[in-house]
């Protein structure tokens, strides 16, 4: 199998580099370049620049002196790293991730394997059915599940109530982690399942046949052959899951309208939103965004590195 994330463009042969195709390549890439510059590069530069400033007042300016933007170097970064709201947010995200990511990927893998297993029926119905949640936006999914969790409308709670066990506290701690994770799992399992399934389908038939001929059961074939051969796909899905976890926002924000267990700074993105739009501390939000981006990049690189080592075995 080819190595994972081998993303460098292939080296060009000397012959090709001499060809002159005029300005067409530049014009073709120009729109992307300009948009990239305008909506990614410049905003990032501005964010980093802004993160070095803060609103300060002159000590002698009276009780309601105007605040002005002043240079503070890394002051905002220090403040963010010592802000308990951000620290708690990261903790919540970590706990959420520990629950959500393994279940998401595990289920995606199991479903994909099952779809690929000889003798398992209902693929024609199950595959599209499991894929449907992908089409539902996170906010709507949180809305749906929110009502399914809410004691007054939840079917599970009505069953448990009828049995005399009271309502299930889906929207309270500590269940809330599971409840949020469930929304992510529900929404993401289909997409990830398809990615892994497609990789499974490209495993050469001969490999599987010879294993079966050797007497391996389907389970053994799955564990010993199929899974190792789709590790790149699993890595890709892990990558998406990781980014999704760190950037968790839509679901807790939506569930906040229904649950009191979610504070306004429950995940880092919500705290960034608070700093940017509620406490007029945009520079601090900028610093936090930069830190969050760095964490994401570092985590992604680590995942890629682990994957590279794994598949190089």
């Amino acid at each position: 199998m080819t190595t994972v994330a081998q993303t460098a463009p292939p080296k060009t042969r000397r012959r090709r580099s001499v060809q002159n195709h005029g300005s067409a390549p530049y014009w073709l890439i120009a729109p992307a370049f300009i948009l990239f510059l305008a909506f990614m590069v410049i905003p990032i530069i501005y964010t980093v620049w802004l993160s070095m400033f803060a609103y300060r007042v002159d000590s002698g300016g009276g009780i309601l002196a105007k605040r002005v933007l002043s240079f503070v170097g890394f002051g905002n970064y220090k403040a963010v790293m010592s802000d308990s709201a951000y620290a708690t947010g990261l903790l919540h995200v970590l706990l959420y991730g520990i629950v959500a990511v393994p279940i998401l990927l595990g289920l995606a893998l199991i479903f994909a394997l099952l779809l690929d297993t000889v003798g398992v029926r209902s693929g024609g119905f199950s595959r599209p059915a499991i894929f449907i949640p992908y089409a539902i936006p996170g906010v709507v999914a949180a809305l749906l599940w929110g009502f399914l969790y809410l004691p007054s409308t939840s079917p599970i709670s009505s069953i448990t109530e009828a049995l005399g066990w009271g309502t299930v506290p889906f929207l309270n701690l500590p269940w809330i982690y599971g409840s949020l994770a469930n929304i992510a799992v529900w929404g993401g399992v289909g997409f990830n399942m398809i990615i892994i399934y497609t990789a499974l389908r490209s495993i050469p038939g001969e490999v599987l046949e010879s294993a079966r001929l050797d007497g391996a059961s389907e389970v053994q074939v799955a564990l010993r052959i199929k899974i190792p051969m789709v590790i790149p796909a699993i890595v890709l899905t892990s990558f998406f899951a990781l980014i999704g976890t760190l950037q968790l926002y839509n679901e807790p924000q939506t569930l906040r309208t229904m649950s009191s267990a979610i504070s306004p700074t429950w995940v880092p993105l919500m705290t960034i939103y608070r700093d940017a739009f509620m406490t007029d501390n945009l520079p601090r939000a900028a610093a936090a965004s930069v830190l969050l981006a760095l964490i994401t990049v570092i985590a992604s690189v680590i995942v890629m590195a682990i994957a590279r080592r794994r598949s190089a075995k």
């Binding site: 530049y26 300009i34 105007k66 605040r67 709201a85 409308t153 009191s260 739009f277």
Partner: protein
């Protein structure tokens, strides 16, 4: 050749981007050469107005219909926690309206953000239209920054029918009575609670603390004092923690689907907040609740006292970037200080007016359906509104709100001391003020 082409394309891209960004940082267009509310050539001056209460568009229509010299263009800017920051950003980018509604709690933060115009010289005519307590909420160090529009004198609404079923015939006059009533309620129906006190209710806790004379933010000279963690507040916190620990109050959020369901099932029996609570309860109550609720005075810490603080309420400001100050003041004066304006927003939006003339108007209104049977509803409201203590706010209320929600939320989850949560909040708020460069006395 490639190098030149590449460099050319790069330069073009960068130049475009920079030009586009640089060129458009427009200064506020000086659209009205005369600057004031005088019509330059017979044309009415148009001012822009941001607000949010339901029905404000109708109020604005009434103004436009009766005024030739000033016309108002209304935008529903949505209220909520983000409204102040939105206004600030708009001022900074030159897109701000001339007039905006702002909540009292956010006014200081808007002032220090440079968004509010000093209108001390413009309010001479309407000085007497409002009580000193009302003016206190928009005046700092002698400078007037806004005109009060509606107020929220602290009050209590309660499900009198459910109270009666539990054996309570009089609303509680003190918090000790409140606790005793809560116990009776719980004894009568274990699923019911007297009310909900979630960590998000900074406004409530501030108002309850204000009864003891505690001023969470105050200033003297050019220094602020932050007393969110003072002894009076800690005692208050301990009191409510006791009630929560004994299951007498809920700590879940207000007005969630669950809260509303409980309210309609006679399991959420009162709301100690302010006069506007009636309207909100009426909005979520179903028909079975109509006529069951009553307005009462906010419970006191000391028997015999009657003065109460404020929770909520808003004022109209002229934004610092506005160039149509006279026209803006004409609109604000009509809206907030005249009988016509007050009648309009009273009818259309249901807000309780800050102006005396408006409060007098309310006494001729019929009792709200949810309190049907309480014939002196509006008379009681007016009495409550006339006996108030100021509640003071500092420049970082929004920050305090999120810190309190986090600290108190943790204390509730982990069953640790609520009083400590308030102390921690006070420390964080103090530090935040100091970090920003303000003088903090304590």
């Amino acid at each position: 050749m490639y190098k030149r082409r590449a460099a050319g394309a790069l330069a073009l891209g960068l130049a475009t981007a920079i030009t586009v960004v640089g060129c458009s940082s427009s200064d506020s267009p000086n659209s009205n050469p005369s600057g004031d509310g005088n019509t330059a050539n017979g044309e009415p001056v148009t001012i822009t107005f941001w607000s949010w209460p339901e029905g404000t568009d109708k109020t604005v229509e009434e103004f436009n219909a009766t005024h030739d010299d000033v016309q108002v263009k209304y935008t529903n800017a949505g209220g909520g926690d983000e409204s102040a920051a939105k206004l600030l950003t708009a001022v900074r980018s030159g897109e701000a309206p001339d007039v905006s509604l702002v909540e009292y709690t956010t006014l200081p933060s808007l002032i220090v953000g440079g968004a509010v115009m000093d209108i001390t010289d413009k309010v001479g005519d309407i000085q007497d239209a409002f009580s000193p307590g009302a003016w206190e909420q928009t005046t700092f160090d002698g400078v007037v920054y806004g005109v009060p529009q509606d107020v929220g004198p602290a009050a209590m609404v309660y499900n009198a029918k459910a109270f009666a079923d539990a054996g309570i015939t009089e609303p509680p006059a003190t918090w000790d009575d409140f606790r005793k009533d809560a116990e009776l309620i719980k004894a009568h129906d274990p699923k019911a609670v007297i009310g909900a006190y979630p960590p998000s209710e900074l406004g409530f806790f501030a108002s309850a603390a204000a009864l003891t004379g505690s001023k969470w933010w105050s200033y003297e000279g050019d220094a602020w004092s932050v007393n969110i963690g003072d002894q009076a507040t800690q005692d208050m916190a301990t009191f409510f923690q006791g009630m929560a620990d004994d299951g007498l109050i809920s700590t879940d959020s207000l007005l969630t689907a669950d809260y509303n369901a409980k309210l309609n099932a006679n399991q959420m029996l009162s709301w100690t907040s302010a006069l506007w609570a009636t309207g909100v309860v009426q909005g979520v109550a179903d028909d079975s609740q109509m006529g069951n609720w009553r307005l009462a005075r906010f419970p006191q810490w000391e028997a015999g006292k009657t003065a109460v603080g404020y929770q909520g309420g808003s004022a109209a400001i002229v934004t610092a970037s506005s160039e149509k100050v006279d026209a803006a003041m004409e609109f604000i004066t009509w809206l907030n200080a005249t009988a016509e304006g007050n009648q309009a927003f009273l009818t259309n939006s249901g807000a309780y007016p800050a102006a005396t003339v408006g409060q007098e108007l309310t006494t001729s209104l019929p009792t709200p359906p949810i309190a049907e049977g309480q014939d002196d509803y509006y008379k009681l409201a007016a009495d409550i509104a006339s006996d108030t203590i100021g509640v003071s706010w500092g420049p970082n209320v929004a920050y305090a709100k999120t810190v309190l929600e986090e600290e108190l939320g943790k204390a509730i989850q982990n069953h640790t001391s609520w009083a400590d949560a308030f102390v921690a909040t006070g420390e964080a708020v103090k530090k935040d003020l100091k970090d920003q460069g303000y003088n903090v006395a304590n």
